[in-house]
Symmetry: D2
Subunit: 360 residues, 4 copies
C-alpha cells in the first residue's frame, strides 16, 4: 500500500506522474443512480487549470477529463468510476538539468531515499499536477453531496501577509485569486508582483465552508470527522497547518468563551455561536463546517539556492521552468474537493450506523 | 467500520467507554521479536493518569495494564497484542443528572443524532479516557521505534496565553504541567488557579519532536507522513489545530525564507534550517520532525450554560463532577504516542517499498 | 497488518494464544440499537466448547464470555464491542516436549520461518482455540442478521467416509456429531472409535445454509459474496476445500443442467432449482445460500511420525496431550458464525449502494 | 467500498464494463525498481484474448495494454501503475433484446436488486471481460515474483467429465484448451463439439502450481495464505469450488495418511509428501503450492430458457450473441495471475513481520 488510496466507502485511488502519459483516478463505492456527466467534473477541473492568470504556471494543459467506466445512460452504475486526463504539455526539457540535484523545499531527496531513484521530470508523482485527479474525484463527491443538500465552498483567505477581511462570495468568482474581498485582492496582487520581481514566491490560506451538513456525521475515535478532514487537507502538498473552527486561537480561549450554547428553534437544535467549526467530539453538530489550510510559499524559485546532488556533492541550483509564484488560488478547488471527499465518505459510512435505519 | 481502527501495518483497534467495564486495545502487525513487558507500557500510562496534580480530575484510576496476548517469553510473537485496562472509579452517580441534556462543547448531541441514543455516563466512548488505550498502544510503537534509534518527545508549549519560551527538557519532568520553562510553568499555574476560581477552564499547545527519523518515510500522495500525523493528532479529542514545522506561519513567509538549503557533512545530507519540520512532499527529510497540537479549553465547566434536552427543550446545565480545568498536561503523552504510532506504521510500510530491499 | 482483522463494515479483530492469559475479539462497526447480552453469545460458545463428548479433547474450558464494552442498557452503542474469554485449563506441561520439534500437519514450521521463533505451547495463535473468538464475534453477527429475518444453520454433512443422507435438523441437536441423520451418526461414531483405537484421526464435511437472504447482497468483482465466504471458510484451520451450491460437481454439468430458471410467484422472483447455492455473479439471488467446508483429519495423532527439529535434525515425534480425534463437530458452529460474519458485513455494505436508499 | 479493490500491500483496483469505453486497473504498492514493459503484460493478456480457437467467443478484442503511469526509464517507480485497455468490438446490438430479461445463471437479477438498474449490455461489470484487468495486474505480480524465483503455472485439469491424466507442461502450450495431456485434449474437444451442437456449454477444472515459494508466507488467522487464495480464486466469475492440496479428498483421509512427514536434506527442510498443497495452518511450508478452481458451465446458452423480466413477468429467453461454449481455457491465465497477486501481496506483507529483518 503506497498511500494513493483515500476513503473507506467512497474510495478514491489516484495515479499518474506530471510528465507521464496521463493522470487520473478510480472511485470505488460511489452509489448507483447519481446523474453524472463529464461536464460535471470538467467545471471543477477548469478551476484549477494552469495558465489562467499572471500568477500561475504557463504550462498549458487542457485537462480534459474522460469517464472511462461506471456511468451508463448518464447515471452512475455503482461500479468503479475511472477518470482519465491525458498529459499534453509535458515539456520535459525544462527539467533535464535538475536530474541529479535535489530541489530545496521539494520531496526530491526523500523520494530518492525511499524508492532508490526518482522521476526527475518535474516532481513526478509529487507534482501538484496530481491534485487534478483528486479534483476530478472530488467533483463526483460534490455532486453526490449536492443531492442531499450539502454544499462545499472554498476561497482564498490570505495571500502572504494580506488577509481577506470580507466574505463576499460573489467577489471570489471575479478575481483570479479567488479572494472574497476586492481590496485584499488588489493588495495581494501587488504583493505577488513584488515576489515575482524578486524571483521569489508566496504562500497563503484557503478557507472552506460546508453547509447543510446534518448532525451525526463522523466517528467518535480515530475517524473523527475533523481528523479525516485534517488528513485530507494536509495530504495536499504544501499545506503546513490545519484548523477547524476557531483552530489555533481556541488554545488561548477559556471554556466559557469557547463553548457553543445550544438552543431550540422551530423544533431544531441550533448553536448560538460556532467556535467548534461544526464538529464536536469528532461528530458534526449541524452547524456549518469551517476549516482552513495554511499553505507554504511555492518552493520552486529562480533564485540560486544551496543544495546537494544525488552523488553526495554540494551544489547550487536555480530553478527555471514554469512555476506558479503562488499556488494558493489553484489550491482553492483542491481544498474544496478534498473536503467533499471526506463528507461523502462520512455520509456513506453513516448509513450502517443504526439498526433502525438498515434496510434489506 | 466505526472508526476505531488506526494504522495500516501497525494497526491498532481501541475499545471501551469511560464508565464501562474496561478499556483497551489490540495491536495487529507488531513485528515478532520485540522485547516487551507490562512495565514498558505502564510507564507511559502513568504519565496520563489522573489525580497527579491540582490541575487534573480527582477521578482515581490505577490504570494498570495487562498484556492478554501476543507476548511470549518477554518477546512479541508477531501476533495481536491485546492490552486491557479495567475501569475502577466509575462513580456513575456524578453523571446521572446529565442524562437528557446535551453538554455544550461535547459530542453528546452529535452522538445522539448518529446512534439514536447515547451512553450518558460521562462521555462514554467520547471520553478522554479512551486515550489511555491509545497511549498503551503507542507505548509499544515507541518501544519498536526505540530499537531503531527513533525517539519521540512531547511537552507543553503553552497553557492558555502563557507560552514556554525555553526548551529545557529536564524541566519538563519536574513540573506537573510538563512545560520546558520554569518561569512559564509558574505563570501558567497562576493562570489556571484563576480559571478554577472562575469555574472556567483553559486550553493550550503541545509540541512534539521526533529525532532519529531517517529520510524516506511516508508516501507521496494521500498517505503523506504529515497527513497521517495530522489525522492522528486531530483525532485526539479537543485538538482544533495542527502544525508541522513552521506551520501556519509558513503561509506568510516567502519561498526564499521558507526553503531549507541542503548541504553535505561527513557523507550525510543535512539541512541548514528546518522550516519544513522534517517532512517535505509528505516524505521525511532526515531532520527532526516537529509538530504542534492546539487544544481547546476543557468543555466541562461548572458555570451555568444554555443547552437543550434530548426531548427538544431549552435547558440550563451546570456540570459538576470531577473535571480537569485543563487537559493539556495529560494530552502530552497522548500526542507523543499518537506520533509514535504514525512513525511505526510508516517504518513498517517502508519495508516493501523497493525491490532491492525485499527478502524472501 | 498481521491478518487478524476480518470484514470491512462489521469488522472483527481477534486476539489470543491457546496458552496465554485470554482470547477474545473486538467488533468495530456493529450498528447501534441491537439488543445484546452475554447469554446471546454464550450459547454459541457452548456449542464449540470442548469436553462434550468422547470425540473431543478433554481440555476443560468454561469459555465464559465477558462483554467489556460497546453495550449499554442491553443495547449495542455503535461503538466497539470487546469480548473477553479467559484461558483456564492451559496445562502447558503436555506440550513441553514439543518445544523444538515441528509437528507434521501443523503450522509450526511455517511459523518458525515467518516469525523467527514460536509459541510452542500447543499451537499458540494457530490453535483451534482461536476460533472461540470468531464464534463470539459471529454470534453478534447472527443476532444482527436475525433482526432482519436472516438465519444461518450449519451441520455435519460427513465424517470421514460416512455421509449424512438425510437433512433432519432436529436430529442435529440430538447427537454430539451434529449430523442430521441418525443412521449416519451411528456409523460415524463407529468409524471414530476405530480411529481412536488406531491412534489416528478423521476429517469430514460441514454444510451451512442461510435462509432469508434478500437478493442483492455482495459485490460484482473481488468482493463477490461467495468469494468472501470462501475467504472466511478457508480461514478456519484445517479446511482444505470450499464449495458453493453444486460446488465441484458443477464443473461436470452442462449449462442447461446447471442454470437455474427464474419464475414469478406472488409478485416475487423465485428459482426452480438452486444449483447456484444462492449466489450468481457474486451477488445473492434470493435463494438459500448453501456452502460446504471440507475439513482435513486432526493432524495431532499419537502414532510416531517423522519430523525435524528447529535445529535442523531429523527426529521422531509422538503427540500426546489432549486432542480431538475429529474436529468436525466443533467446527460446525465456527462455519456457521463465519458465514454470519460475511453476511452481516455484506448487509451493512449494501446500505450505501444506491442513492435512492441513502438517508441524511 | 464496492469491492473492486484486492490486496493489502500489492493493492489492485480494477474498473470497466464490457461495453464501456475501456477496462483497466491501478496497482498501488508495487515496489520501486522492478523492470517492467508493456510487453511483459501483453503476453499474459494474449493468453486470455478471445477468438483464438473454435471454443471461444468470436468477439474480437486486440486487448492492447497501455501503461499510463508508475514506470519510468523501464522501471517501476514505487508509485501507482495504471494500466488501460480500450474496448474495441463492443457490438452492443447483440444484447439489446436482453434489456429487460434476467439471464439465468448470470448476475443480472442480483445486480438489478442491488443497484436499482443495470448495464444490460452484455454483463457490464459482471462480464468475464473484467478479468482482463486482473490478468494485467497479475502479470506485474508475476514479474515481481519471478525476481525472487517464484513461478506460477496453471493449466486445464478437466473439461466437463474429461480429466487430464498426465501433467505434460509442454503439451499445455500446444493445444488451445491448455490441457497437459494430449489424449485428454482430444476427448475434451469432441465433448465440446457435442456441447456446441446441442446449443449447450461445459465447465471444467483449472489447476495451478506455484514453485519456489519460501516457507513462512501467509498469516495465522484470517489472512491464511490459502484463505486469501480461496478469496482470489472464488472471486473469478463461475468458480463454484476451491481446493488446496488434496482438497475435498482430505476430508475422507485419516490423519496418518494426510500428514506430510518432514525430513532434512542438504540442510533444508523437505516434506515426503505434499497433501497440504504447500500451506499448513495458513502459512507456506516450502513445498509447491497446488490449488484447483472448479468452474461451472458458461451460463449463456442458445437454448430457450425460462426467466422473468425486470417488470416482474415470466418470459422465455434465447441468448444469441457470441459466447464461449466453455470458459475454462481462458480462465487458466486468470487463475494463474490471481494466484500471483496473492503471493506477491503475502511476500510484501512479510517484510514487516520480524524486527530482525527491518531496515531503516
Amino acid at each position: 500500500m503506497a498511500g494513493s488510496v483515500f476513503g473507506n466507502f467512497f474510495r478514491v485511488t489516484t495515479f499518474g506522474e506530471s510528465h507521464g502519459a496521463a493522470i487520473g483516478c478510480v472511485i470505488d463505492g460511489c452509489p448507483a443512480g447519481l446523474h453524472l456527466s463529464e461536464e460535471d467534473i470538467q467545471k471543477y477541473l477548469d478551476r484549477r487549470k494552469p495558465g489562467q492568470s499572471d500568477f500561475t504556471t504557463k504550462r498549458k494543459e487542457a485537462d480534459r477529463v474522460e469517464i472511462l467506466s461506471g456511468v451508463f445512460e448518464k447515471k452512475t452504475e455503482g461500479t468503479p468510476i475511472a477518470l482519465l486526463i491525458r498529459n499534453e504539455d509535458q515539456h520535459s526539457k525544462d527539467y533535464s538539468d535538475l536530474k541529479d540535484k535535489f530541489r530545496p523545499g521539494h520531496a526530491d531527496y526523500g523520494f530518492f531515499e525511499k524508492f532508490g531513484f526518482r522521476d526527475y521530470r518535474g516532481g513526478g508523482r509529487s507534482s501538484g499536477r496530481e491534485t487534478a485527479a483528486r479534483v476530478a474525484a472530488g467533483a463526483v463527491a460534490a455532486k453526490l453531496l449536492d443531492e442531499f443538500g450539502i454544499e462545499v465552498h472554498a476561497y482564498t483567505k490570505a495571500i502572504g501577509p494580506v488577509e481577506a477581511l470580507k466574505n463576499d462570495f460573489d467577489e471570489c468568482q471575479k478575481n483570479p485569486l479567488y479572494m472574497p474581498d476586492h481590496e485584499a485582492y488588489k493588495k495581494a496582487s501587488e504583493y505577488l508582483e513584488v515576489c515575482m520581481q524578486d524571483k521569489d514566491s508566496a504562500g497563503g490560506v484557503v478557507e472552506c465552508v460546508a453547509t447543510g451538513v446534518p448532525a451525526g456525521l463522523g466517528d467518535p475515535v480515530f475517524d473523527k470527522l475533523d481528523a479525516r478532514l485534517a488528513y485530507a487537507i494536509v495530504s495536499i502538498g504544501a499545506v503546513k497547518g490545519f484548523e477547524i473552527g476557531d483552530g489555533c486561537k481556541a488554545a488561548k480561549a477559556s471554556g466559557s468563551e469557547n463553548n457553543d450554547a445550544f438552543f431550540m428553534e422551530n423544533g431544531r437544535v441550533y448553536k448560538k455561536t460556532n467556535h467548534s467549526g461544526g464538529v464536536l467530539g469528532g461528530i458534526s453538530d449541524g452547524s456549518d463546517i469551517i476549516l482552513r489550510a495554511y499553505i507554504k510559499p511555492t518552493p520552486s524559485i529562480a533564485q540560486p539556492q544551496s543544495t546537494v546532488t544525488d552523488a553526495g556533492d554540494d551544489a547550487t541550483i536555480e530553478i527555471k521552468g514554469r512555476h506558479d509564484p503562488v499556488i494558493v488560488p489553484r489550491a482553492v478547488v483542491v481544498v474544496e474537493t478534498m473536503t467533499a471527499l471526506v463528507l461523502a465518505d462520512a455520509l456513506l459510512s453513516n448509513q450502517a450506523s443504526r439498526t433502525d435505519r438498515i434496510e434489506l
